[in-house]
């Protein structure tokens, strides 16, 4: 008994040792969409200033919005901007507003695992909406084959995979589907979590890509880097100008061109189905959700310092992970907006 107690207290003493270290720890949670980028950024920033540890948990954009509103994390992250109700809820609860800061540009890509098919498939708007509405059920449906002549699509059932939890990646995808399909807009709508007509749920971008990678004939949407990092094929999507565009730095940047010039002050904007011949239609900004009042001076300075770095040096890292840089006008506007954090 005595020995047991000694071991116990020894362990706790060790734990207390870690209190003695003077590091500043900040907790953030939210989107899985930019998680590969954020984890690299926080790692690099920690190398720059080893006193600051930004612990980011990718639990989904819905989680980011909820936890930052509850106040259990210092900042949130979401690819679906908070809607007016959510903004009001935050203001009512805390007495001051929450601010959106775009960090990178990314893209939702349609990724698939079809035995025997390694080519890039082309997807029309009707094909995407039809598959997710459950109306197109087989891979060799004419809606898909007509844009993919020369590809041998099997007569197998399509297994749709979507997100199980509240997700900004879902918001981007459903936002796009709502724009190109009236039926989707009225039947399902756009949000971080919807009532999916068909499909299996995966946990996070990580879970969805895991499921698709392991399950033949599956089809789903993930952020571009997840498809690339996991060597999964992803298709081209037809944009509003009728071109089949593959998601890459150029096409995502093209999608943001219009928004760059007309960025609203609160930075909440949707760039799905953007006009422009070279624009990738399922692109999006992703935002950090930062309270406009942070009482703890150390945390406030650390967060502001990080965002400043992310908007400057940090942008140089994004392209290696296939995210697109923010347009210069947006960066300039944001750097000014940082002063709003008190």
């Amino acid at each position: 008994m005595k020995r047991f107690a000694a071991v116990l207290f020894g362990t706790l003493g060790l734990a207390a040792f870690f209190v003695a270290r003077a590091a500043l720890s900040i907790t953030g949670a939210g989107a899985t969409f930019p998680y590969p980028m954020y984890s690299k950024w926080f790692d690099e920033y920690h190398k720059k200033d080893s006193n600051i540890e930004i612990n980011y948990q990718s639990i989904g954009s819905g989680g980011g919005i909820k936890q930052v509103t509850e106040g259990t994390v210092d900042f949130g992250a979401s690819d679906g901007p908070m809607n007016d109700d959510q903004l009001k809820a935050y203001q009512d609860k805390h007495g001051f507003p929450i601010l959106h800061f775009p960090t990178v540009l990314g893209a939702d890509v349609p990724t698939y695992n079809i035995p025997g098919v390694t080519q890039e498939l082309n997807f029309t708007q009707d094909a995407l909406a039809g598959i997710f509405l459950g109306k197109i059920t087989k891979w060799n449906d004419p809606a898909i084959t007509s844009s993919n002549k020369g590809v041998n699509l099997p007569a197998n059932d399509i297994l749709v995979v979507h997100r199980a939890e509240g997700s900004g990646t879902t918001y981007i995808w459903t936002d796009y589907l709502s724009k190109i399909s009236e039926e989707w807009k009225t039947k399902v709508g756009k949000a971080t979590a919807v009532k999916w007509p068909v499909g299996l749920g995966g946990q996070g971008n990580e879970g969805v890509s895991g499921l698709i990678k392991q399950t033949p004939n599956s089809f789903g949407y993930v952020e571009l880097i997840y498809a690339i990092q996991n060597k999964m094929p992803y298709g081209r999507v037809r944009n509003s100008s009728g071109e089949f565009i593959k998601a890459d730095l150029a096409s995502v940047t093209a999608a943001a061109a219009g928004a760059a010039k007309n960025m609203p002050d609160d930075f909440r904007v949707s760039i799905t189905d953007a006009p422009g011949k070279a624009a990738y239609p399922i692109s999006s900004f992703t935002w950090l959700l930062i309270p406009s009042k942070i009482p703890d001076a150390g945390k406030r300075d650390a967060i502001k310092g990080f965002v400043k770095w992310a908007l400057a040096d940090g942008q140089n890292l994004v392209e290696s992970l296939s995210y697109a840089k923010l347009p210069k006008e947006v960066v300039a506007k944001e750097t000014k907006a940082l002063d709003m954090i008190q």
């Binding site: 639990i59 989904g60 954009s61 819905g62 989680g63 919005i65 909820k66 936890q67 509103t69 109700d85 959510q86 197998n156 059932d157 297994l159 199980a164 939890e165 509240g166 997700s167 399902v188 709508g189 756009k190 949000a191 971080t192 979590a193 919807v194 009532k195 999916w196 499909g199 299996l200 749920g201 995966g202 946990q203 499921l211 392991q214 399950t215 004939n217 599956s218």
Partner: protein
């Protein structure tokens, strides 16, 4: 029971005639008070859990009432929430689990209690107890990497080929789904059925068996027609225990069930269970109605396991009383 409180060797004045202070100095009153507080805190915490669950689900209870249990819609956008898909998924996966685990478990328990020599029986029981100690998340890992591919590539196609006309095996088999979750659950609950049934069978008095054998029955007949029926209530208790465990399982289920609020006749279909949906959506439920609907699901789960555990204990107690004491022919 605390029989010691009635035994006070009178080495001195009786308790009631000593002053409060002298009792206090002895430390007994303090000890009694302190330990009472800790015991009471257990009751307090349990009551608090029920209270928090009740309080935390006030919005959906008022808005949906009992319709919550009849609705199969789970729509966070239009804020319509119904528990039916999750109740369905929970019950179906547990039913599949029991269908597999009960015959296997009782069979193994019979072997351990009736046939195996004591040392073998104890050793095997030791391993079974270890199986019960494997955490849920590890079953989940095995589920994802071993069982799901096995199901998808071998078992589900085989089932489709042979029994594909049955509605429970219709539709494509993805590996993930209700059937797979049920199979993983079966492995998880089998140790409970085995260890409780084995104990209950061992407690059946010897003369029951010997009477049957003396009347000319075979070993199997005496076991199946005399011993097992005698232990029937206890075995039922073990099944309820296993069911209670299966209902509350979270991690292994959420990793292989497909996370889709769907009610389908086919076992190949993905689905969701109460515990699984809470685990995947609680942290991200934006909006009070959404969050509280998940808490109401937790309340439902709590009540279900509460009833089952109560029944289980009742049945097991009844059997052991029959075995050791009075026998009602």
């Amino acid at each position: 029971m605390a029989a010691t409180s009635t035994i006070v060797p009178s080495a001195g004045p009786t308790v009631s005639s000593r002053s409060f202070l002298s009792r206090l100095r002895d430390g007994d009153e303090i000890a009694r008070l302190v330990t009472f507080l800790f015991a009471a805190s257990v009751v307090l915490v349990t009551l608090l859990i029920v209270y928090e669950l009740w309080l935390g689900s006030v919005l959906p209870r008022h808005k949906f009432g009992f319709a919550f249990f009849r609705t199969s819609v789970w729509d966070p956008v239009f804020e319509e929430f119904g528990a039916l898909p999750f109740i369905y998924g929970t019950l179906v996966t547990s039913a599949v689990a029991l269908l597999i685990a009960v015959p296997l478990g009782i069979g193994a328990a019979i072997f351990l209690a009736e046939l195996a020599p004591a040392r073998v029986s104890d050793t095997l029981e030791f391993f079974i107890d270890l199986l019960a100690a494997v955490p849920s998340v590890i079953y989940g890992v095995l589920g994802i990497f071993i069982i799901v591919p096995l199901m998808r590539e071998h078992i589900q196609p085989a089932l489709k080929d042979t029994l594909g006309f049955l509605p429970i095996f219709k539709g494509p088999g993805y590996g993930i789904g209700l059937l797979t979750a049920g199979i993983v659950l079966a492995i998880m609950v089998i140790p409970y059925i085995i260890s409780v049934s084995r104990e209950v069978l061992l407690s059946v008095p010897r003369d029951q068996r010997e009477a049957a054998l003396a009347l000319g029955s075979t070993r199997w007949e005496s076991t199946w027609k005399v011993v097992v029926p005698f232990a029937r209530t206890g075995i039922m208790g073990s099944i309820f225990l296993a069911l209670a465990r299966a209902l509350g399982e979270t991690m292994a289920v959420t990793m292989v069930i497909g996370n889709t609020p769907l009610i389908s006749a086919s076992l190949f279909s993905p689905g969701d269970s109460i515990a699984s949906v809470i685990a995947s959506q609680f942290k991200e439920a934006t909006g009070d109605l959404y969050t509280q609907s998940l808490i109401e699901l937790g309340l439902v789960l709590f009540l279900l396991t509460f009833i089952l555990n109560g029944l289980a204990r009742l049945l097991i107690v009844v059997t052991s009383q029959r075995g050791s004491g009075t026998r009602n022919a």
